[in-house]
């Protein structure tokens, strides 16, 4: 399996394009905030991508997380979806790659989520350093969970904490979308299918009994 190291990274050409764009823009505006969380000049896959293919993250646009961001994402995703009896941890199912692809995508919804995610990642490391003098990824699990507990609270009045809670909701939803896309994720959630069969039996008797149902289509 590919690891994130072997996935396509930002190309030098891509970076040069950004700098060219930034230089052009800076002549028109007195100040250009050149931060990596606001630069997206990738294009989408278009209206006629080849469909009968298998794609991997980064095939259509470059992944853009810095190594620091990737560390935080990996640590947080693994707190949210850890290794347990239901399956492996998020990072083993490449959830961080999915989130990277998502926030790096050139589409409006993904870019909006990207803003939420990138500012949330910034907040979470600031909070970790303030409380524990370490980045989130370097905390022990109890410390990481204590920060998640803050983000889980739904009744924040402070705007920064409200944003952190919103980030956590978005991040959890993306992580679940990624996790349950995989065969291991299917097992964890109880999906079975996507396999050809000569017949379709409908729900097994055990399920019908549990729900008090009768199969009304007889063969």
């Amino acid at each position: 399996m590919d690891t994130h190291e072997t996935l396509p990274r930002l190309s030098r050409r891509q970076v040069l394009k950004w700098f060219a764009a930034a230089a052009a823009a800076s002549q028109a505006t007195p100040f250009l905030a050149f931060s990596q969380d606001s630069v997206h000049d990738a294009v989408g896959y278009g209206s006629d991508p080849k469909l009968n293919e298998i794609y991997k993250r980064g095939d259509f646009w470059p992944l853009t997380f810095s190594s620091k961001q990737r560390k935080t994402v990996t640590a947080l995703a693994d707190v949210i979806l850890p290794t347990d009896d239901l399956g492996p941890a998020a990072s083993q199912l490449r959830v961080p790659d999915f989130i990277d692809e998502w926030v790096s995508a050139p589409y409006p919804k993904q870019q909006a989520d990207g803003k939420t995610v990138l500012s949330g990642l910034k907040w979470i490391d600031e909070e970790s350093n303030q409380r524990f003098k370490k980045n989130f990824a370097d905390l022990n699990i109890k410390q990481q969970q204590s920060i998640c507990d803050v983000m889980c609270k739904q009744d924040h009045t402070d705007s920064k904490l409200k944003q952190a809670a919103s980030f956590f909701r978005t991040f959890t939803s993306l992580s679940m979308g990624a996790y349950y896309s995989t065969p291991e994720g299917w097992k964890a959630i109880g999906y079975t299918g996507n396999t050809p069969s000569p017949t379709f039996a409908g729900p097994p008797q055990e399920v019908l009994d549990k729900l008090g149902l009768e199969q009304t289509v007889k063969s």
């Binding site: 239901l86 993904q110 959890t172 964890a188 109880g190 999906y191 017949t199 729900p203 549990k210 289509v217």
Partner: protein, 599 residues
């Protein structure tokens, strides 16, 4: 799919057809098997479902987990290519800035058009559906009865293969014995809804869908479809043998590489091509109907998208099946000295009385369905059960505050997860770790969605016209849409909402979301169900209709419209099956005219 370029086209054809979807596909099929030489213009590229369909691909193999994007509105694996709500360089405009009057237009510029991705729901219009005005004084009657079109429904169902049952219900026609294929078993969501329906008085029965649950009977059906035509029987038999029965995996919206479901590209076009009588020109964007000095149509003017040049094809008869909106646009753009307001528009009705399907939905969470033992719920890649409209008598007795019916489509949720979280966020709020995974497993598949698909009554305020200034990238004027729902549709959506709530509660479930105050809170925008029909309705005379009951325009005798543009009303029954039935009937008329030397 074998195609030709413009330079390879013949000097003249018997019939030129615009569009390769349900209407154009059926037309080409019927005409070519009868020996007529046809040319088909398709605005999109050629497309081969056998090699291009993403069967079995999973969300983790798609960008963004297959989530929908502006490039692929219905998700990455949806078969639609070069189409969707917005197409670069091919705009359409709105007659109003009011959100309630918005129209959304789905286009599919590809071989086979929308038949590649459609839901395969194949419901016949019933006797009432052709005579609505006579029944309740609203809208208009069709110039045809159910009995007249019924043989064509039979033939289309035999050709494409439709599963379902005959239940003998009011205005929900049975098919003749032996025509339907066996229905698939009910899934959890289907059976739960059926049981709940019993409690609240809503019938739930197997739906009719164009999916093969067993191989077609290639030894007997072709002779029924093409009596006395041995060559056609052979070709159609071979085409039927090339289709496999459903193998109960992968959603139909991706298309089907084994041709288990109907799409024009696997069912209509291969036998038509096998006759040697069909030339298909892809990337041919039809612009105008050409009219000769004698007032008859002589062919089509189109843009060859591969060169950007204007080209033409010539034919003795011409058929528009470009989708109702696009056909309206072509007619209106075909103005000339003889037809200053657009071809076939002496009635002034081209573009008028456009209808969509009333669409709304409600979902619920059903505690009894939590933590169900995992089991394969994929089924036939689409609906198994539905509720046909059941309140005809109450409606006629004036007990309801809307005039026409809706059917209910059932959405189970044990589908292949991916892309988006399989459980709505409010069920896992504040959770992480193993507890989150346990709750995700608990709630997965415990939701049921019920959708209203109802009849809209035609009204004066819902129409399309040419935008006076906006043009597409080839300089062709685009459509400006006007839309307005009436109380009939809005009240229907509210009735559906209350019905769905009662069904969800009968399952012991809880309705999700906040209750609607008016129909406008829940009704989907015009065009959003992608059932836009009308705009060139058929009728009894040239004053109040564009074409006659044979889909032949009153003004130009060799111009036929066989998409949904001639629809007079839009019953809750999904339009595709009716498009094909009317197209086949129209094709038989063209064949008869050719035999008599009248083309």
């Amino acid at each position: 799919m074998p195609t030709i370029s413009v330079s390879q086209s013949k000097a003249e054809y018997d019939v030129a057809i615009v569009g390769s979807g349900a209407g154009g596909g059926q037309m080409a099929y019927t005409l070519t098997l009868a020996g007529l030489k046809c040319v088909m213009l398709e605005a999109g590229r050629s497309y081969d479902p056998v090699t291009e369909t993403p069967m079995f691909q999973t969300a983790d193999q798609a960008p963004l987990g297959g989530a929908s994007t502006p490039d692929k509105d219905l998700g990455f694996w949806d078969s639609t290519i070069d189409g969707g709500w917005d197409m670069p360089g091919e705009p359409y405009t709105q007659g109003s800035t009011s959100k309630d009057q918005e129209f959304t237009w789905w286009r599919s510029r590809m071989m086979g058009g929308r038949t590649n991705h459609w839901g395969r729901i194949s419901l016949r219009n019933g006797p009432y559906d052709f005579k609505g005005r006579s029944r309740d004084g609203l809208g208009f009657d069709w110039p045809i009865t159910y009995d007249e079109i019924q043989p064509y429904y039979d033939k289309v169902e035999m050709l494409i293969g439709v599963y379902g049952t005959n239940e003998g219900m009011e205005n929900t026609p049975d098919s003749p014995p032996g025509v339907l294929q066996p229905p698939p078993k009910g899934r959890v969501g289907d059976l739960m809804t059926q049981k709940a329906g019993k409690k609240v008085g809503v019938p739930v029965i197997p739906i009719h869908r164009a999916v093969l649950t067993r191989p077609l009977d290639a030894d007997t059906i072709p002779a029924k479809l093409h009596p006395g035509n041995k060559k056609a029987q052979k070709i159609v038999g071979d085409a039927m043998r090339a289709r496999a029965a459903c193998f109960w995996a992968t959603p139909c919206g991706r298309g089907c590489s084994i041709a288990a479901n109907y799409q024009s590209t696997t069912v209509h076009l291969p036998p038509a091509l096998a006759t040697g009588n069909l030339d298909i020109i892809p990337n041919a964007h039809a612009r105008e109907v050409l009219i000769g000095k004698n007032g008859k149509a002589s062919g089509f003017l189109f843009v060859d998208k591969t060169t950007g040049k204007e080209e033409r094809v010539n034919a003795k008869a011409v058929v528009l099946a470009a989708s109702s909106g696009e056909s309206v646009r072509i007619l209106l753009n075909s103005e000339n000295n003889q037809f200053p307001d657009g071809v076939a528009n002496s009635s002034g009705l081209v573009g008028k009385y456009i209808m969509d399907t009333v669409g709304s939905s409600l979902s619920g969470q059903i505690p009894a369905m939590e933590n169900l033992p995992p089991h394969n719920d994929d089924g036939a890649g689409g609906s198994h059960f539905y509720s046909p409209w059941w309140l005809y008598k109450e409606q006629l007795a004036g007990k309801l505050d809307f005039a026409r019916g809706y059917h209910i489509e059932i959405g189970g949720t044990r589908r292949m997860p991916g892309g988006n979280s399989p459980v709505p966020g409010d069920y896992t709020r504040g959770l992480y770790g193993t507890k989150l995974k346990e709750e995700a497993r608990r709630y997965y598949g415990s939701f049921i969605g019920l959708a209203c698909r109802g009849e809209m009554i035609p009204n004066k305020n819902s129409y399309a016209e040419l935008d006076p200034t906006v043009k597409d990238k080839w300089g062709i004027p685009v459509l400006r849409w006007h839309w307005k729902w009436t109380d009939h549709e809005l009240n229907m959506a509210m009735h559906a909402e209350r019905t769905f709530a009662s069904m969800i509660e009968a399952m012991g479930g809880k309705v999700r979301g906040t209750p609607a105050k008016t129909g406008l809170d829940i009704i989907r925008p015009g065009g959003n169900v992608k059932h836009e029909v009308g705009g060139a309705r058929m009728g009894d005379n040239s004053k109040d209709s564009v074409c006659n009951s044979l889909n032949q325009t009153w003004d130009v005798e060799n111009l036929f419209l066989t998409d949904a543009a001639p629809f007079v009303t839009n019953a809750d029954k999904n339009p595709t099956l009716s498009i094909m039935a009317f197209s086949w009937r129209c094709a038989d008329h063209i064949i008869e005219q050719a035999r008599q030397g009248n083309l």
